[in-house]
Each structure stands twice: as structure tokens, then as C-alpha cells.
Amino acid sequence: MKTLLIMACALFSYYGLTAQNVSNFEYKDLENNSRSFNELKGEKLTLIDFWATWCKPCNKAIPELNKIYDLYKGKGVEIIGINCDGPRSISKVAPLSKSLQIQYPVLLDINSELKSELNILVFPTLIMVNSKGKIVWIHEGFVSGDTEIIISEIEKQLKEN
């Protein structure tokens, strides 16, 4: 039984070598409008930021993502914020987002459906998706100096696409 389980794990890992795709999703934004990935995605690249109001590194990353958004807007790169606050803290998302002056759209995934779908394990997690919907880069956490890493990855992916 245990051997079969180990074999199953190995096979899963082997077949999992190809990158995951992002399917279209739809959630409400801060103004109670339904918005979809297909509507918001970038022509070349889309950065999806998974965050929550109670997560301090997430809040620290937001002004940096704003800068990146300003830098690449109009160059085929878009950012989507996916907020994963549950019922306890979801009411703080809109006032905090507006106070932090988030420039890019923020969608509310109160049931953490997309988080589970894309195997998000920590907050914040930044996912980079190419024009074909394939996840090309994943970055977990946020500390000083990560902005440069994100920018360098965007440049790399823009050259490859």
C-alpha cells in the first residue's frame, strides 16, 4: 500500500513538470462589479498578487506593485490583486486598498477558490502569467530588494515573449 502511494507521488511529480495554466475566473471588485481575468489580463504578461489585509509583507509589497504597475502600464503588462480575506476581515479590504491607493484592480476571493486552484501556499504570492495563460514565474513572500527581482523577471519574460 505504502509503495503504491510513493509511486503515485513520484508519478504526480513527473507529470507535473509542465507549468500550470490559469483558467478564466470572475470575482467582484471593490465597487461590487463582477470582473473577469479575460477582461483584465495583460496583452503580454499578467501579474496576479495574492494578498490579505492582515498580512504585513503583503501591505509592504503593495506600494512597490503600484510602482511596477506605473512603469509597465501600456507595455502589455497588467497587475490583478486577488484579496483572500475571509468574512472576519473582508470589510477592511476596500478602505485599506483605497488608503494605499492601489492603482490596479483588486478582486475579492472570499472563499479562497482561486488560491486553492493555483496551489497558493503563503501570502503574499505573486504569479506571472504569459499571454497564453501559462504560469511562468512564482514569487513567495516580500522583503526589501524584491522589487528589483520582480522587474528583472518581467524584463526577462517580455524578451522571451
Binding site: E31, L121, G141
Partner: protein, 489 residues
Amino acid sequence: MSRIILSFILLVLFWSINFRLQAQLNGNNLAEYQHGRLPNDTSSTSTLYDRLVANYNYKFLKASATIEQFNTPLAGSSYVNLSQFSLQYKLKPLEIKIGNYYETIGRGLLLRSFEIPGAILQDLSYRSRHYFNRDLLGISAKYNYKNFKTKILYGNPLNYVFPPTQSFNDRRSDAIFAINAEYSLKKQTIGIAAMKHTNGGNENVFLMGNVSGSITTGISYYTELAKNVSDFKMDDFSTQSSYAFYSSLNYSKNSFGLSAEYKKYNNFLIGSGINEPPALIKEHSYKVLNRSTHVLQPTNETGYQIELFYTFLNQSTLTFNNSIAINQFGNRTVFQEFFLEYDFPISEKHSAKVFADYAEDPFKLEEQRVSAGLSTDWKVFGNSSIKTDYEFQTFKRLGKKYQNHVCVLGYAYKSNIICNIVAEYSDDSFIVVGGSKIWIGGYLKYQVNDKNTLQVFAGERRGGPACNAGICYEVLDFKGVELRLTSRF
């Protein structure tokens, strides 16, 4: 059970081999090795926990399975369990899921399911470890067409207190059947729900209604009322009745944000606790405050929470929170907390945070609880940064003063390598019997690549209540070594 697991694995493997060119497999694995002592242990024990989640997508179909394993030398606590399995059909406007699923109704007054990423539960009674989640086992169907959304749920919610070594009847003693519908017009949404709940011989019927929306740019609201209507007394809101009311109002303008929330819960603990009304108590990231939280009492609680945010031009942020929870169990008790935090850049590369908190917590017999702290983040050469944290807390209990201290010294190289030394001190008589205690531990996180992360803890870790993603749970004291490997595929 073994046959079911085996059949499921073979089915998934067969599927993956036949359709691998067109379909997609993904998932994650969490493996954790522990060698050490829990409270009351006289010798160290080695245990191994593993959780594999595998999802298989093929066009509009998806199959998922979660296998949990726990190995310990302690008799009766080891297991291999197919903790979750599901088959999903999703093609707009219909979505059907059979097996384990997560679903919350409204703000969780009637039903809340969740999964806390990375949290493994353990308790001294069962000496087993399992993932911290509450899912439902049954069937769900959703139909979303333009502005109309509806879902029908049938299933047994998980009582996470019991590990997989316990029987199905213990772990899933509740059963629900619920219908929820929502209609949105412009920026307003109205929702209704009905839920039948059974546990043992008890059967109850609940109704819920909510309205939410955006009034103008910067002002939004949410209001929800749920009631047990088994007695057909729709207008009875006396102390004997069972109901829950939650409302929030948000306002924002320029760099200012305000969130105001109100709660009134009366006899509203459903079954073994399948609902989770919003607690309206701030969830803190600071250690001394996170573990000092007030745990919601849905059987009798009234209160409010106000939080203000302001972001200055230099990107510094000011946060103020005030929350009150009033309980009436014989005596009237009032928990209240005032919290202020200022997060500011010291220069272009360095930043700092200061906080101050004052609380009265009669449940824990803590009077005049004062907490304060300072965190700094110094970007040093290249992509390295150094972090320092100091947190202090003092309070009075039955006329005697107690203190808690937390010191953290950390180093980070990008997000790839993070290491922290954490030292804690307490003379709280509820934690340490006579005298005081110091806990010292070291933590290392190494992100091998974007798919694998290794975490190591060595030393002694202080336990206590912990809150994560809006859910509070108990973490045990631990002394020893812990190794965790998280992989994504």
C-alpha cells in the same frame, strides 16, 4: 478504506496516463518531520507528517485528491488517509462538485468552511497531527447567469477537532442542506439563504438575508441577518431566540479609509460549530497581541469594531483600531481594545513600525493590558536586509502584575533565505507555574526554487492561541527540531 484509497489512486493514474497530453496535473506537497517534546513529555519523539494534494484538469472536468499521512511511534495515532477527493464539472453557467468542497454562505453566520495554508493541528489528547481545515463532504451545485447566482449545498462539515484517526461519525456529525441565491442590480446585491441542519436527533431550520453594495465611490455597506426559524417565530428576537446580525459600513476618501462593523449574536452556535460569524476583533501580526486575542462567543456577544487607515505622501501608514465585545453569561463582561500603529520609512532603504495597544480582557482576567513594540527593517549590502523586533506586554491579574517580552533578530537575502532568532520571556502564572520562563528558537527558510521551500526550526517555541486568516486555534509548546519541505508541482 484502504481499498477506496487504492481504487482512487489507480483511477487518477489511469486517467493521467491516458490523457496526459491534453490534460494538466498540478498540486502541492507538505512534508514535516518533528523530533522533540510537547508539553508533559518526558522524552523526545520523532514524527513525520505528509499531505499531498493533486489536481487533474481535463477541459471542464477536474479531479482532486488529498492524501494525509502521519507516522508516530505512539500507538493509535498514525494513519494514512484519503482526506479529500472531489470531481468537478465547471462550464459556465453551471458548476457541480461531488466529494469534498469549501463553501461559505454570506459572511459565515450560517456556514463557513476554510483552509489555513500551512497550519498543522495537534493536541495532547490524540497525539496526532492533521491539516487545519473545515470542508464539506457531499455535493454542491452552482448556477451563475448574468446578475443571478445560486448555489445548492448538501453535505457533512468537518469538525476539525477530531483527527483522521477518529470515526466518520465523530468527525462529520453535522449535516446541512442549504440553498443560497443572490441577485445584483447595478452596484447593489441582495441575497437570501435557507439551511436545514441536523446533528444527532436535533434538526433546525435557519433563514438568512443580506444586502450589500456601493452607495457612491468610497462608500460601501454589507448587512446580514440570520435566524433559527424552527419554532416559526419569525419576529422573536428575545434572549431565548437564536439569531445573528452583522453589519459593516466602509468609507474612503483620498488616503483615508474607515471600516465600521457591528455584531449581535444570540444563541447562534450551530451544531459542533460549523458557522463562524465575524469576530470583529483585530487580527494582529504581532506575537504578543495575536495570542492575546478575544475568542468570539456566538452564544452571546454584542460589539463593534472601527478601523481607520491613513497613508501619508511618503508612504508611511497610520492604523487605528478600536473594538468592543460584550458578553452576558451571568455577569456582564466587556472586552475592549485600542490599537495604534505607525509604519514609516526611515530612509529610501530602511523602514520601521511602532505600535501601542491597550486592552481590558475579563475572560482572561487581564486588566490594564498595555502592549507596545518596535520593528525595523534595514536594507544592507546588495539584496540583504536585517530585521529587528521588540514587543513588550504587561497586565494585572488578581492584583499581580505580569510581563511578556518578544525579541527577534532576522536576516534575509532576497526572499530566498530568511533566518530569525526568536527569544521570548514570560512570568504569566497561566503559562509558567511559579517564576518565569525564556523560550529561544532559531528559524531558517530557504527557497530552493519557485517550486520548493525548505523550513527548519530548532529550539523551543512558545505555544498558545494563534489566529490566522480569521480563525483562531491552539498551538502547543514545542522543544526540538522541525523540518518542513513544501513543494508545488
